[in-house]
């Protein structure tokens, strides 16, 4: 239902709206895309189109290695979280309604907590004197504190995995919640056992939620630079940090923009694939 006066001609408000959108969203994105094709000479930006940044990006082995390492890391985090998130969402879904609501709210609360605070808090868990080391020592698994838990890529993996978990559990839970009870009743009436119901109905109907969750996780993990910066140390150098560094000391904004364009293409590609997979033909 529409509230406005139907098919009215665009008024001043609409022109104003579009100019604001153009001024603050479209033009900045355009500038960003254009910058990827500029270059820097003597700390000044040269506004002549070139594909030099992209050539350097592809030929420089350290950029390539950082890119591949980050993509793999983001993929691993998504895969681990898909397993953990699915198990958690499934467990929540099987609880009685009161318990279920409580668990869902408890999962949503961390989403509104400050991102860097959550990352910082993970330092206290992973550090040499941290919670995890104390636990490992108390359980007798290790005798001395393990220093390998912080300031490397594993720390980044663990931290991102923890911080991004709600983004995985919630979409899967919503997908599970949408499965009509009648379908499950029909399956049991037709004599399907629990395993058959799960593999034949529950899993295929809830997996699209998992794909959406994996998409969120991947996009957020691959572009992040705060977690690697705070818990990654030197070893946990990721693509996001590489981009960010171009805007600090390195002062090569065009290269930073080019690196980001590649990241954006990967993100858009993942979003596109997830939309196709997460919206299967029988649901379209």
């Amino acid at each position: 239902m529409t509230v406005g006066a139907g098919r009215s001609r665009p008024g001043i408000g609409d022109y104003l709206l579009w100019s604001v959108i153009a001024l603050f969203i479209i033009v900045p994105l355009g500038c960003f895309l254009a910058y990827g094709f500029f270059s820097v000479v003597d700390n000044a930006i040269v506004y002549r189109p070139t594909v030099g940044n992209f050539a350097e990006l592809l030929s420089n082995p350290s950029y390539r290695a950082t890119f591949l390492r980050t993509i793999r890391m983001a993929f691993e985090v998504s895969a681990i979280n898909l397993v953990l998130g699915y198990a958690t969402a499934y467990f929540i879904w099987l609880r009685p309604p009161g318990m279920r609501n409580f668990l869902v709210i408890a999962l949503a609360i961390p989403l509104l907590m400050s991102y860097i605070i959550k990352i910082y808090a993970m330092r206290g868990v992973l550090g040499t004197n941290g919670l995890l080391n104390s636990a490992l020592m108390a359980l007798g698994i290790v005798d001395e504190p393990v220093s390998a838990l912080l300031f490397n890529l594993t720390a980044v993996r663990i931290t991102l995995s923890v911080v991004l978990l709600p983004f995985m559990v919630l979409p899967i839970y919503i997908a599970l919640e949408r499965i009509p009870a009648s379908v499950l009743h029909a399956a049991s009436d037709l004599g399907a056992n629990e395993l058959q119901t799960f593999t034949g109905i529950i899993l295929p109907l809830s997996l699209p939620g998992g794909i959406v969750g994996a998409m969120f996780t991947f996009v957020l993990a691959s572009g992040d630079f705060l977690a690697p910066e705070l818990v990654g140390g030197i070893e946990g150098f990721t693509y996001g940090r590489l981009i960010f560094s171009q805007f600090g000391l390195a002062f090569n904004w065009p290269l930073g923009a080019a690196l980001s364009i590649l990241l954006m293409c990967v993100a858009l590609g993942v979003i596109f694939v997830a939309r196709r997979l997460g919206n299967p033909r029988w649901q379209r």
Partner: protein
Amino acid sequence: MRRLRLLDISLASVTTLVYLALYLPILLVFVLSFFSMRRGRVNWETFSLGWYAKLFDNEALGDALRNSLLVGGTAVAAAAVFATVAALHVNARPSSRSARILEYVIFLPFLLPPIITGLSLLIYFRETGIPRGIATIIVGHAVFVLAIIYRIVLTRLNVLSRSLVEAAHDLGASKFQTFRYIVLPNLRMPLLTAGILAFALSFDETMITLFLTGTDATLPVRLYAMMRVGFTPEINALITLILGFSIVLTVAVAFAWRRNAGLENNSATRI
């Protein structure tokens, strides 16, 4: 059946692990803001509010807090106005090309990795010669929260009874009067809900802000700088205070959302 019991137990353990992972780190920070730690153990005899007292002497933090509140308030107010205009625009002609393009464009800053939104604006401000500062941060935050306010307002507009608006027209109300006396009162709750949510997002936003900040830092940016320098125990106290504020905002969002949903159900039955 034994196999199923085993499955239940493993599901329960994974869930427990997930919730522990989400809450234990935060809890640890909370405890350490009052107690000190020795050899990986909390020393329960060292209760003190010293770190909190120290926070109040830190003038840079006071400035950062003021900046955060200023940025959040201004950005949310500006975004609310434009999100409402955008939602009215799309609602009036949902199938037009202009509406469909707008739907995509408005979500870009929210959906793209924040690093890209941040650096697009950074490059843009450099090219237009606008120095980095509070104003640029406000623009960044407004663009970032625009989508969420837009979505909530549009949802409300779409369920608003058309007959209400038509009745107003029939009774001779001008377009402005219809908006002022019919549409706007109906948008009060959704705007409040979206506003609090957007403020919470703005209050925590770090990545976009890091690109747009000049010498004036917001609270998360100041916090980030403190964390990078190293470990100072007063960070724990500061974090505890910020988390307390976040929880208050979360509860406020939940309440507003509930009332909002209640109103929506009411108007749905009225149609």
